[in-house]
């Protein structure tokens, strides 16, 4: 077992498992699990409101995690870091609150056909509420939204551009910095779905110069149920709250209320402090491994998987021909075998992959495949995992179609 897998109890307990569904969720290292357990053993209380020492400890744990997240993505201020449950919730906050702030009838919202349903349905809803139009960007054959495509689709009515940073199906990375600059010149606000990017790419929100950036903790080694919305203060301050009640209030009388300052305005109800502590530990974990190592290993694994799958004439790979552009995500089909059958037969060989539409049905139809298999790697995977995948692909093909 490689030394990185050794950090993960699930890997230690399942030595024959090739876990290649990291784009769905990553496994959790001891460091994260222990940090969450220690929080509940030593520091648990309801943060922000308690007037006693333990509550202060919980508050410190919660706010120190926020500081760490702000530094991790280079946000200017920690008030710009809003805790959520996951990227989906973050994206819903943007689509709900920002659209209330800026959208008028006949305005346009621009998203890409590659969006996860979580960055698509909220905008469909926002467009309906405000009688606005939802306009789509289409990628080139490498899965990239070109500056030409953006320029062609932007109009004076385009108020919001919401785009995935890395596609959860094609693994393609968009040049957010370049696209955001073009959008901003058009006075279009830019929101980015970073759920599939932050596990693989060092994020600097100031360099990208996006106005919002959403991500989940659980895809970057943290527990499920904690996510982040980064937003520029100028917008977050003007946006109406999303959920209400709990610590998000300032003053309440029978008919009206005023709201708390940022970031609390967007954090209704008792928060997931254990999750925040886990996310903080996950950031420590990723920094101790280092993005250089993460990128180097994932690129090599992606290249090996891409090269080996390409040798099989009955396998179709979606997206770029260059495995380095996939960020460890390879969507493919085995000719004549449905992805659900592939995933079940993979499972019987201890290979965990995803099969289906990957919460991106419009993209699937655009790719004319409806469903596909997806193998997604993290740095803790190794060459043996990839060989196990390839052997299983060959077995499944012969099981259905003979040798």
């Amino acid at each position: 077992m490689n030394l990185y897998k050794n950090y993960f109890p699930i890997m230690r307990h399942n030595k024959s498992l090739a876990y290649l569904d990291n784009a769905a969720t990553t496994q959790k290292p001891d460091m994260v699990i222990d940090a969450v357990a220690e929080y509940y053993k030593q520091e648990n209380a309801n943060p922000l409101r308690g007037l006693y020492e333990l509550s202060q400890k919980a508050t410190d744990a919660y706010e120190n995690a926020r500081k760490k997240i702000a530094k991790f993505i280079n946000a200017q201020k920690e008030q710009e870091i809003i805790y959520t449950r996951n990227a989906s919730e973050s994206l819903n906050i943007v689509a709900f609150s920002l659209s209330d702030l800026v959208l008028q009838a006949d305005d346009e919202i621009l998203i890409s056909i590659m969006e996860h349903h979580s960055n698509m349905i909220p905008w469909q809803q926002a467009a309906k509420r405000h009688h606005a139009k939802l306009v789509y960007l289409y990628p080139n054959e490498d899965g990239i939204i070109t500056t030409d495509e953006l320029t062609n689709k932007l109009s004076t009515k385009t108020k919001i551009l919401s785009l995935t940073h890395v596609s959860n199906v094609l693994g393609a990375e968009q040049n957010i910095k370049e696209l955001a600059a073009i959008a901003h010149a058009n006075k279009t606000i830019v929101s980015v779905d970073g759920a599939q990017a932050i596990p693989h790419i060092k994020i600097d929100v100031q360099k990208l110069d996006c106005d919002f950036y959403s991500f989940s903790g659980h895809k970057m080694y943290a527990p499920m149920g904690i996510g982040v919305l980064y937003g520029k203060q100028e917008y977050l301050e003007k946006m109406p709250p999303f959920l209400t009640g709990g610590e998000m209030i300032d003053y309440v009388d029978e008919q009206t209320a005023t709201y708390a300052e940022l970031p609390y305005k967007f954090e209704a109800g008792t928060q997931n402090v254990g999750g925040a502590v886990g996310l903080s530990a996950a950031i420590d974990f990723m920094e101790s491994v280092g993005y250089d190592t993460i990128i180097e290993r994932e690129t090599a694994l992606g290249k090996l998987a891409g090269d080996e799958l390409s040798k099989l004439p009955y396998v179709t790979i979606y997206g770029s021909k260059n495995p380095a552009l996939h960020h460890g995500v390879i969507a493919f089909n085995i000719e004549g075998v449905h992805p659900h059958d592939v995933a079940s037969l993979m499972d019987s060989g201890d290979v965990a992959i995803r099969g289906g539409h990957h919460c991106a049905q419009p993209l699937m139809r655009y790719l004319k495949c409806n469903f596909c298999c997806r193998a997604s790697m993290a740095f803790y995977n190794d060459n043996e995992d990839i060989h196990q995948l390839i052997e299983r692909v060959k077995y499944i093909r012969s099981y259905f179609h003979g040798a």
Partner: protein, 160 residues
């Protein structure tokens, strides 16, 4: 669990050579969607969708005098859903609406692990080959797609 319990000869045969994968109605509109005009007094058409995986089948049945004369299907899906549909068609052709509804209820109970009485399950004939799907919860929905769809069609027919 040994996977060849699921991907057994019966399932693989029905998946590779389905007898009932064709059309009963003639209208070309009927290929992809439900169109009320495709339905006649005798032929009922219903689309079944598995929202979690995107599998779609269009089921057509020809009912005369309360007897299911013929069943056909079209659409995309995994081997489990395709074979399950074809096996179901074999089973219910020639049966009354009431009998077919009972079969669908029994099958759904079997794959959910709610009915394990071997004597009762014998009635399902080749559909018994899908019994071990009960051990693969993620695939139960694939196996039941056609049976749910047929159950709804026949229940609606009875109401009308």
């Amino acid at each position: 669990m040994a996977l060849n319990n699921i991907y057994n000869d019966i399932l693989m045969e029905h998946n590779t050579h389905p007898d009932h994968k064709h059309k009963l109605s003639n209208a070309s509109d009927c290929q992809t969607a439900i169109n009320p005009q495709c339905e006649s007094d005798a032929i009922l058409v219903k689309k079944g969708i598995n929202p979690s995986c995107g599998d779609e089948i269009v089921l057509e049945i020809n009912v005369e005098d309360g007897i299911i004369k013929d069943v056909a299907f079209d659409g995309q899906g995994c081997a489990v859903s395709q074979a399950s549909t074809d096996i179901m068609a074999d089973l219910v052709i020639g049966k009354t609406i009431d009998e077919a509804i009972e079969f669908t209820d029994l099958f759904i109970k079997m794959v959910r692990g709610e009915e394990t009485d071997e004597d009762k399950l014998e009635e399902l004939d080749e559909a018994l080959a899908l019994k071990d799907i009960a051990h693969m919860p993620a695939r139960v929905k694939c196996a039941v797609l056609a049976w749910h769809t047929l159950n709804q069609m026949l229940t609606d027919k009875q109401k009308n």
